[in-house]
Symmetry: C2
Subunit: 311 residues, 2 copies
């Protein structure tokens, strides 16, 4: 049974937030909007030194640069939240070098998803830090009334549980196994979770509610990742599975199976409650949820309720 | 140090070969050609019961059907070689059910590559069987003079070492770290090797020469798999790396880094000899090589010499 999460303090007016890019290169115009949104919430905002950098087509900087930015933010006692500018690819290249001692000494809010799953898993395994599976800075562009933006603000400043209902227009809505389960919510991006297999940042899944989402992976790739999770112990003892968005996970010129069919077959064999259709992931809008905190998955009522990530 | 391979007997005229489909669905017309080629070599050929089946767009049958075919062939004392009809996807779904006791009791030649890497790894881990990383049945269509076809025939019937030279027109030719190393050749398809991470079919790489090839994976995906190998212990103690073809591994609308740059950066950090440009993999033609047998990688001379897979 996983337990003992460290919950960071919620944000208050005037707190300092640092935007860092552990993975992909960001669009400066988009980052400007993110800075505006966060400033509008009454926060002070600082950009990591290499947050707007670029190396090759897909990284924001060298491993050393990206890691230095992450650690600089994590070590600075004035910084109260670290918001990742975007996902993409590259976080797993640097997570072994994160200053976990600094995290344990001064736990902060950390927010992001997708490739940032590698950071969430590492922070959980090494420091038991509860983190925010929520939008990256690049996704704060939907306007102040967008669900994504409101949800992110609410989870960073609030101390209320988050309730997420399955929605019929989500592609994974039909993926469901009846029942009710509770446990610590872990997980995130399926492909990145499979990439933790065999590493020291594969969390103990015993008793956990596992959150899964993905984007741009053909059904056979989703199947491959799910089977690797199963064969590598990632699914042993899970209490339930919360299935978020699987956006643009379609086969090239292929129609069968759909990603929902793949998920239903593999997750249905686990013998635990499964709830699909959750608006969490790469869809147009997503709800921010805490990882490393307790959740109740009610596949009968169609809801996932997650404890506040902040203390 | 890996050692103690079981080498199957080489084929002789009149031997029975069984064609099975552990992964993707095959084109019957192509299989007909394969049967003709193998028959032309003086072999008797039998088709697995579901070798021409199809389930969804990408499997040749249910897990039970595909596994039953593999085990039927492995258990039949008359069968002297099991040739996989094609790769694709699906082998890892069934490898835990392979009858390894039958393999240990009666070692046979097993040939294939790509998705079949999951079977090679399983046979090595569970039965120390030396296998053939070579064309699937679907690739025996190039005509009797094709290098692929000649190479496959030679390795199945012969008992000579195989010498493979790096070729300047291969995309990975520039990937090279000087030096000379020897060890047991292990590996195959990079993505499938990463998929063994955390499972009981991840071979001990200590002292091995690691063979890598892939197809249709963008450079960032190749990077992701390589980093997972590194973080999961797959590269610990390897004596050298043999880099085959990385076919169509290009980014969508992206130019940097190339797959050769990704390979050079990640493999170059290992501090062991690395030889790219080997015609092994998904290129137009490929040389069949033994896995689980001793090899000498000479990055100075530009050659990989592999012991005969047969006894």
């Amino acid at each position: 049974m996983v337990s003992g999460a460290v919950r960071p303090a919620r944000l208050g007016e005037g707190d300092l937030v640092e935007l860092v890019s552990p993975a992909g290169a960001a669009d400066p115009a988009v980052v400007e909007v993110a800075v505006g949104v966060l400033t509008g919430w009454g926060l002070r905002v600082r950009l990591g030194e290499h947050a707007l950098g670029r190396r090759h087509d897909y990284l924001s900087g060298t491993d050393e640069q990206r890691l230095a930015d992450v650690n600089h933010a994590l070590r600075d006692p004035e910084v109260r939240a670290v918001v990742c500018v975007r996902g993409g690819y590259g976080t797993q290249r640097i997570v072994d070098g994160v200053d976990f001692a600094a995290v344990r000494a001064d736990p902060k809010l950390v927010m992001g998803f997708s490739d940032i799953t590698a950071l969430h898993s590492a922070l959980w395994c090494e420091a038991r830090l509860a983190t925010v599976h929520g939008p990256t800075g690049s996704q704060l562009v939907g306007g102040l009334d967008s669900r994504t933006v409101r949800s992110a603000r609410s989870i960073l400043f609030g101390a209320e549980p988050v309730v997420v209902a399955a929605e019929a227009d989500e592609e994974t809505f039909g993926v469901r196994v009846a029942g009710r389960a509770s446990g610590v919510l872990l997980g995130g991006n399926l492909t990145l979770l499979a990439t933790t297999a065999g590493t020291r940042h594969r969390p103990d899944p015993t008793g956990a509610i596992l959150l899964l989402e993905d984007v741009g992976e053909e059904p056979y790739r989703v199947d491959r990742s799910l089977v690797q999770l199963r064969r590598s112990g990632w699914l042993e003892g899970v209490a339930g599975v919360a299935v978020g968005q699987f956006t643009n996970c379609v086969g090239e010129d292929k129609v069968s199976p759909t990603v929902a069919e793949v998920l239903a077959e593999e997750l249905g064999a686990l013998g635990v409650p499964v709830l699909g259709g959750l608006p969490i992931g790469h869809g147009e809008q997503q709800v921010a949820v805490g990882l490393g905190v307790r959740a109740v998955l009610d596949a009968d009522a169609g809801s996932l309720t997650i404890q506040a990530v902040t203390s």
